[in-house]
Symmetry: C2
Subunit: 226 residues, 2 copies
């Protein structure tokens, strides 16, 4: 399947590489290809520049948001949550229409320093904002409750015995995303309900960042014991 992964950070890289390894044709989308490929310094979190990763993944194309989305059957939003709506607008409403839009972003607000708060929460969510702004896209919120490495290899923690959530209004889109999650090795997949349930999974972030501090590393994940 032709998949556009929007976002060149660790989450986009991790998902793009996994999807490509499973045989999908992956294009990574970015605002400005030349600027993205031209950066030679680590980002503000200390991650190596994208161009290094791209040089090691020559089977994955790099294109603008619009070019990546236009050719894709599915679109994955792995952009910074604060800029996701703008990135998806750049991808183009027409190019998103009718497509499964996997939203893995969190609306984190780093403007007041660490730990981040949420830009939207409680009575709304980024997942809902995206679904409202792009009503013809088939938005499925998932993967936003964990570290990027865990998304693509759940066995890295507790032998994979933990839970991934899906939220969305389109049952067929959720079923298709659930199959994709299974192809990544996920077995405990909980369908929370419609896209308003993205409030719940996005509101896990405040405890996630505190657990990162309390436990000393980001390799943990929520399991719904039952």
């Amino acid at each position: 399947m032709q998949i556009a992964v929007l976002g060149t950070g660790p989450v986009g890289q991790s998902l793009a590489a996994k999807l490509a390894s499973l045989g999908h044709q992956v294009t990574i989308g970015t605002r400005d290809v030349e600027a993205t490929m031209g950066r030679t310094e680590p980002d503000s979190f200390g991650n190596p520049p994208f161009s290094e990763w791209a040089a090691q993944h020559t089977n994955i194309a790099v294109a603008t948001f619009a070019e990546a989305a236009a050719g894709a059957a599915w679109v994955v939003n792995a952009t910074n949550g604060a800029g996701s709506i703008a990135a998806l607008e750049a991808a183009g409403e027409t190019s998103l229409a009718g497509k499964v839009l996997v939203d893995v972003a969190n609306p984190l607000d780093f403007s007041q320093g660490m730990p981040p708060a949420l830009l939207v929460s409680n009575t709304d969510s980024l997942g809902e904002q995206i679904q409202r702004r792009f009503p013809d896209a088939r938005v499925v919120k998932t993967f936003n409750t964990m570290n990027a490495y865990l998304m693509v290899d759940p066995t890295l923690v507790a032998g994979g015995d933990h839970t991934v959530f899906v939220s969305g209004d389109d049952q067929d889109a959720k079923a298709a995303v659930t199959e994709l999650l299974e192809s990544f090795g996920w077995s405990d997949i909980v369908d929370l309900g419609d896209i308003t349930t993205a409030r719940g999974s996005e509101m896990l972030l405040p405890i996630w960042v505190r657990l990162w501090s309390a436990l000393g590393n980001p390799m943990f994940q929520f399991k719904i014991a039952r």
Copy 2:
């Protein structure tokens, strides 16, 4: 130990009965003893009237918030989150000073119907509001992420293999509450940090209520797999 449990709902009942069974001297506090004992109808959630439970637990005293708190070494806030500050004010600032105040309430807003949103979240929490209003109390937030039955018997789900969180500014108070949790049978107790981390555990409620719907029953609990 002399413990005041403020709140006569299922959470207060469950905690009071467990504490009494462990040999503590427990007084349940309520705003108006006569009104509470005089109710003969189930509450709005269908729970039987408190007087039925009280008749079966004659070893547990019932008193006003103020009377219960005055005689106690520890105070447990098991009131409705929307009324917790008022209930604690009725208990009396002087009676809370220097004492461990175990806050198990959630600031749920049922005013817009189900599912509830939170009255405070993201940049503040009920735990912090209580600590600010009663600066001499030693507030420890815990137990607010689960069903009342599970609080007092973690083995009811997954053999007890799940996680309870504690948040608070007073290390000695957190250590003492951790011992109490252990006496209830808890083994995976995560200290999230200071009282501002109560934002994180309170913000689990939106996904908790959706999981209740998705799973069809409230007997589940968060495990931090790691």
